[in-house]
């Protein structure tokens, strides 16, 4: 039985995995946790993780219906992320592992997003190509087998989720407004404005989203306010389409380059309606199988960290005492 702990970004998360079954997965921003804890909205700083981590773990254990001492392995995110935030998780994980006398596994957050695909309700197995698109990351990797990741493309500037959030802000939707942009775009015509698709060249698998963001800024700056009000949904749809088109085209090109017929995704952007629609359409057209985990496994969670720890080598005591946190670290090419 594995206890997973994830504190690399905004959410404090803990989960219990028994075999491949998710017994519990608690995320601090979930309403049900808020209600229990008193409605404190966690912020970014490590002290919020510090305040929440014990309560989140206690709830994960309680919801799983197990005793803490039935845990046989601890998994914790060690990179990449804000050092202070990561250290809260790492120190907590070490303490529990030491107390229980069990082994510890340090997990790369990005690998966790890939490992979310191994979990129910529809577990998949490699080989596959995985797109990870969130507010902080955009990469496409080839996974020939569990634990092996070959980076095929990554963003050279902004992340896809960041591009959607910042575009939403330029359109007056507030920040982060990726979800609102998605809703507004649903009523718009994506062909209304032609925004540039970043690095749109055959064979180029890297992403660039800062150009489209700047293009939107200058388009809006020179726009008649009357047209803006009339066509806001069309502009939103056109902008979103440029971002999503890049994600879909490059993911499919990545799959083709590895002769892989299975595509998986991870990260918060996987909730985007247009991404799901276009990816499904294109996968069907090109005879690819598409796998999208449920939303709670796509956004940051600890079940995916525990999932990666099922196949990663564990460190016994005292080896894990020296385990640290690292600010950087994605996949290697």
């Amino acid at each position: 039985m594995i206890l997973g702990i994830e504190t690399s970004c905004d959410d404090t998360c803990a989960a219990v995995l028994h075999g491949n079954e998710i017994l519990s997965s608690v995320i601090s921003s979930q309403t049900e946790f808020h209600a229990l804890y008193g409605g404190v909205v966690p912020e970014i700083a490590s002290r919020h993780h510090l305040e929440l981590v014990n309560a989140v773990i206690a709830q994960a254990i309680a919801k799983a219906g197990v005793e803490l001492n039935s845990i046989t392995r601890i998994a914790v995110t060690t990179r990449p992320g804000l050092i202070g935030a990561l250290l809260v998780g790492v120190a907590t994980a070490k303490s529990i592992a030491y107390g229980l006398g069990v082994e510890l596994v340090g997990v790369n957050h990005m690998e966790g997003h890939v490992a979310a695909n191994y979990l129910p309700p529809e577990p998949v197995e490699p080989p596959f190509v995985c797109l990870i698109a969130s507010g902080g990351h955009t990469s496409v990797v080839f996974v020939p087998q569990r634990g092996e990741h070959k980076l095929l493309g990554q963003t050279l500037d902004d992340a896809a989720g960041e591009a959607l959030d910042k575009g939403a802000r330029l359109l007056g939707l507030g920040y982060p407004g990726g979800a609102e942009l998605d809703t507004l775009a649903a009523d718009g015509a994506p062909g209304y404005v032609t925004f540039p698709v970043g690095l749109d060249k055959p064979g180029r698998l890297d992403f660039s989203f800062s150009g489209v963001k700047t293009a939107l800024y200058y388009y809006l700056r020179d726009l008649d306010p009357k047209i803006f009000n009339e066509h806001r949904a069309d502009i939103a749809a056109s902008y979103q389409s440029a971002v999503i088109t890049a994600l879909v085209k490059k993911t499919l090109a990545a799959a083709a380059s590895t002769r892989c017929d299975q595509i998986c995704i991870g990260g918060g952007v996987s909730a985007n309606t247009e991404l799901r629609r276009l990816l499904a359409t294109e996968c069907e057209r090109q005879g690819m199988r598409l796998h999208i985990p449920p939303p709670t496994l796509c956004t940051d969670n600890a079940a995916m960290i525990a999932s990666a720890a099922r196949y990663l080598p564990a460190k016994p005591l005292p080896d894990y005492l020296s385990l640290g946190a690292t600010a950087s670290g994605g996949f290697a090419a």
């Binding site: 970014i44 202070g84 902080g136 963001k213």
Partner: protein
């Protein structure tokens, strides 16, 4: 000192020139609206400091660290609201005597973090052009900046 860059290439030359003036422990603030090229400027400065991996926007992650000839920390405080002294604790590991630290959206954190060696302000002019102004409180750096601007015809 002020310069209107007419292209990304001109910005790259300026960023590389400025990077060469920096010393371990220096902190550089970058102010300016969305899309003015703050991350782009830091990317070219970092390349000049020997960083070889892609320098991407840390708006979401808030901090990224790169190793070049020197360790480069890249902070972005865009998402933070109501920055407090306690928030500053989280960023302490990114201000070190032997590293160079770039800070985007530094305004609200300014009272709580290390004084910058220089403040670079970027403004929109048109789709290819940006006004870049640089202010430094340090006499030695100001002189070097003046020489850099004079020699480059900025």
């Amino acid at each position: 000192m002020e310069f209107v860059s007419r292209s990304e290439e001109q910005t790259a030359v300026l960023a590389a020139g400025i990077a060469k003036l920096l010393k371990p422990g220096d902190v550089i603030f970058l102010a300016g609206q969305l899309g003015t090229g703050k991350t782009c400027f830091i990317r070219y400065a970092s390349v000049s400091l020997g960083v070889r991996e892609p320098v991407t926007s840390p708006s979401f992650t808030m901090a990224q660290t790169y190793s070049g000839k020197i360790t480069v920390h890249h902070l972005d405080l865009y998402r933070l609201s109501d920055f407090t002294a306690e928030d500053a604790i989280d960023f302490e590991p990114y201000f070190e005597a032997e590293t160079i630290t770039f800070v985007e959206w530094p305004e609200q954190a300014e009272p709580f973090i290390q004084r910058p060696a220089m403040v670079i302000k970027m403004e929109h002019v048109d789709i290819n052009s940006r006004r870049i102004s640089i202010v430094s409180e340090r006499d030695d750096l100001r002189q070097k900046l003046e020489r850099l601007f004079a020699s480059a015809g900025h």
